[in-house]
């Protein structure tokens, strides 16, 4: 109505679209964590002794650690004994042998989510590994990938089929002692994806993992390890959703990337975990450690993330630039609406000579949400000629949201060049009215303004996911301006 003032604070509830629960008979262990639970997980997965050992060591170390509280987020204490550390859909056999063996209800769940799991229905060129609660359900395109020599499989399969690679690389980028959640994950991780690209191979398709938390009172602790051997290239995408529940659920994943000489890894995330309702009840605590190491010369690791979900996001996809001339990139759009809290950013650690990094972070806050960019650019004495460019932009919608920027810069080499640019702007009444006066609806106007703001990040995403990200953003902010 013309006489009603457009109120940027008028946040209307936008319903989470992936909040359904799939009624599946699940094999879930009772809540609680001790060494017996870890032994049980390891046994269920048929793991070799070194891995059980590794888990137990991680667990013992975790017990000596305290939960970190430096992030700009607030939440009640987490009772780690109230979480169930293993939940798997019940199966007649050990695991599905092909898509035909997968519970049709599970497939229907993924269909609802729009995951192109079924090979016929899939988007061309995307291979999907879908993780449902704690186990991988099916991996598509195994054969075509195998032809190229690419290994893309559930973590549990890698444990059995590629133990040597695992023993060499697991924990080599994110050691179990790295931080509280990484230690917890190392002790109890249940599944995830494993990727190995052999030397000189350009992975023939986009690899994709879809994570979903379904069971109540469970945590999801997946672990992803991607190794790009010399001269290889891979582009990987993960997507995440969870049902709508009133209690908070913990998601503490670890992702490790290793890029050897001349290899490149592009890792894209579209994270849409349940964010809680408009009052801030429920939602996923997304406490994730993601790190890649450019271990070889001229290696390149690029993180692109679109974070729209979760009650709390605590993640800093990072690059350790060890190899000479290696490149690290971080492109991020983080959206926080209602009572969501996001504390996210990146770390670029320059170790090798002539290493370069680029950080582009776009934070959008609406409702009562708090959105924090936290980034570290560290140039070690060995990193002769290192260069970094950082750009941090915040967009505020309404008067009660907040944007915070904590850029840490630590330079210990005088030849380094570090640039930082930051802006904070508001979606103004003026921009909005301008679009309305041209006949656009308020929703379309906000989407257009926000998309424009995020453009430099979206263009880094693979084409089909850029469209998905844009739609997701529209859904997350629907009703944010009324």
């Amino acid at each position: 109505m013309a006489s009603t003032p457009t109120d940027l604070d008028a946040l209307v509830a936008q319903k989470y679209q992936h909040g359904f629960v799939t009624d599946i008979d699940a094999d879930t262990v009772p809540p609680g964590l001790d060494e017996d639970v870890i032994r049980m997980i390891s046994r269920k997965k048929g793991e070799p002794a070194f891995l059980l050992d590794w888990r137990l060591k991680s667990y013992r170390h975790w017990r000596t650690m305290t939960e970190p509280h430096w992030a700009h987020v607030q939440y009640p204490p987490i009772d780690y004994q109230a979480i169930s550390y293993y939940s798997a859909p019940k199966q007649n056999t050990d695991g599905p042998k092909s898509l035909a063996d997968v519970d049709p209800k599970l497939l229907a769940t993924y269909e609802k989510l729009g995951v192109p799991l079924h090979e016929r229905a899939r988007l061309a060129g995307v291979a999907v590994d879908a993780v449902f609660d704690s186990v991988s359900v099916a991996t598509t395109f195994k054969a075509r990938l195998a032809e190229a020599g690419v290994v893309f499989c559930p973590f549990s399969d890698a444990v059995r089929e590629h133990p040597a690679l695992l023993e060499q690389y697991l924990g080599s980028v994110v050691p179990p002692t790295d931080n509280f959640y990484a230690a917890l994950n190392s002790a109890v991780f249940t599944d995830g994806s494993f990727v190995y690209i052999p030397p000189g191979v350009r992975c023939p398709m986009e690899l994709s993992t879809y994570f979903r938390i379904n069971a109540a009172k469970t945590g999801q602790f997946e672990r992803t390890l991607i190794i790009a051997d010399a001269g290889s290239h891979v582009s990987y995408l993960e997507g995440c959703t969870a049902p709508q529940r009133d209690e908070n659920q913990l998601h503490a994943a670890v992702v490790e990337l290793v890029a050897l000489d001349d290899a490149s890894i592009k890792y894209s995330t579209v994270q849409n975990w349940y964010p809680g309702d408009e009052q801030g009840v429920g939602g996923i605590y997304n406490f994730v450690t993601k790190r890649g190491e450019c271990r070889g010369r001229n290696a390149r690791i690029s993180w692109t993330q679109v974070e729209t979900g979760s009650a709390i996001t605590w993640k800093y996809p990072s690059c350790v630039l060890t190899g000479e001339n290696s490149v690290g990139e971080f492109y991020s759009v983080a959206v926080a609406n209602h009572y969501q809290q996001a504390d996210t950013g990146t770390k670029m650690i320059h170790v090798g000579r002539n290493t370069r990094s680029t950080i582009v972070s776009k934070g959008i806050s609406a409702g009562h949400a708090q959105n924090t960019y936290r980034g570290l650019v560290k140039v070690l004495p060995s990193a002769e000629g290192a260069r970094n460019y950082t750009q941090c932009d915040s967009l505020l919608m309404g008067a009660r949201s907040g944007a915070h920027t904590f850029p840490y810069v630590e330079v210990r080499n005088p030849t380094a060049t570090v640039e930082h640019e930051a802006t904070t702007s508001k979606i103004g009444e003026d921009q909005l009215f301008y679009c309305l006066q041209r006949g656009l609806s308020a929703e379309d106007a906000v989407n257009m303004i926000v998309s424009g703001f995020c453009k430099t990040v979206f263009k880094e995403l693979p084409m089909e996911f850029a469209v998905e990200a844009q739609n997701l953003l529209a859904v997350s902010l629907e009703g944010a301006v009324g």
Binding site: M1, A2, S3, T4, P5, T6, G428, E429, D430, Q431, F433, Y434, C435, L436, Q437, R438, G439, L440, S441, A442, D444, M448, I449, S451, G452, F453, C454, K455, T456
Partner: protein, 260 residues
Amino acid sequence: MSDIRKGDVILEVRGLAVEVQGKRILEGLDLTVRAGEVHAIMGPNGAGKSTLSQVLAGRPDYDVKAGTVRYLGEDLLALAAEERARRGLFLGFQYPVEIPGVNNVYLLKAALNARRRHLGQPEVDAFEFLGLVRDNMRLMQMDESFLSRGVNEGFSGGEKKRNEILQMTVLEPTLAILDETDSGLDIDALKVVANGVNSLKRDDRAIVLVTHYQRLLDYIVPDHVHVLAGGRILKSGDASLALELERRGYDWVRAEAAAA
């Protein structure tokens, strides 16, 4: 062509009173605009000229305290800003905003399609649209780079005004209200803008120019000139009134109105 005929009433404002942040800006304003006409609304600073433009376009937080506005027979004040736009009411902004990262032409296409949907027409074909924009860009003497730039992003003052008129010529509104479109333009740019506005003139449309100065009216000749001061139209006349105002200023109009 629409079924509007020359002389039909397009806009009828009666007794309009408007407050902005508790302050009374317009006080009993009357104005009638008919198809085929060009009106110029002139007046001193702070007279309420921009308020009139904004309130007709549906800007929120302008409180209408009294009066009626009918547009093509409908109650204009009951329509949201976007609904007014889709019905062919266009405001050329005095200060067009920048929208970084949003392509200039993309916004224009969305605007045109919003209008076409309202008229029950199919969305514009991409090829046809580009041709249309190119033709109008030539008219406005804008170079190709405007096709790829963000909405008003990094535009100079003059470029922003040209871009407003470009949008207008593509959208072909029934009623175009141009708020101080001439301000900040050099003489060459003024001619280009005037040329664009004149190209819109047709028997089934109307144009309202809100302006400070007479010089725009050398290039766009108005049928009616109104003096807006103290929140009301104090005097109306033909094009010669603008010349008289240029010569004598506004005080005599105020004095005349006070004496009446």
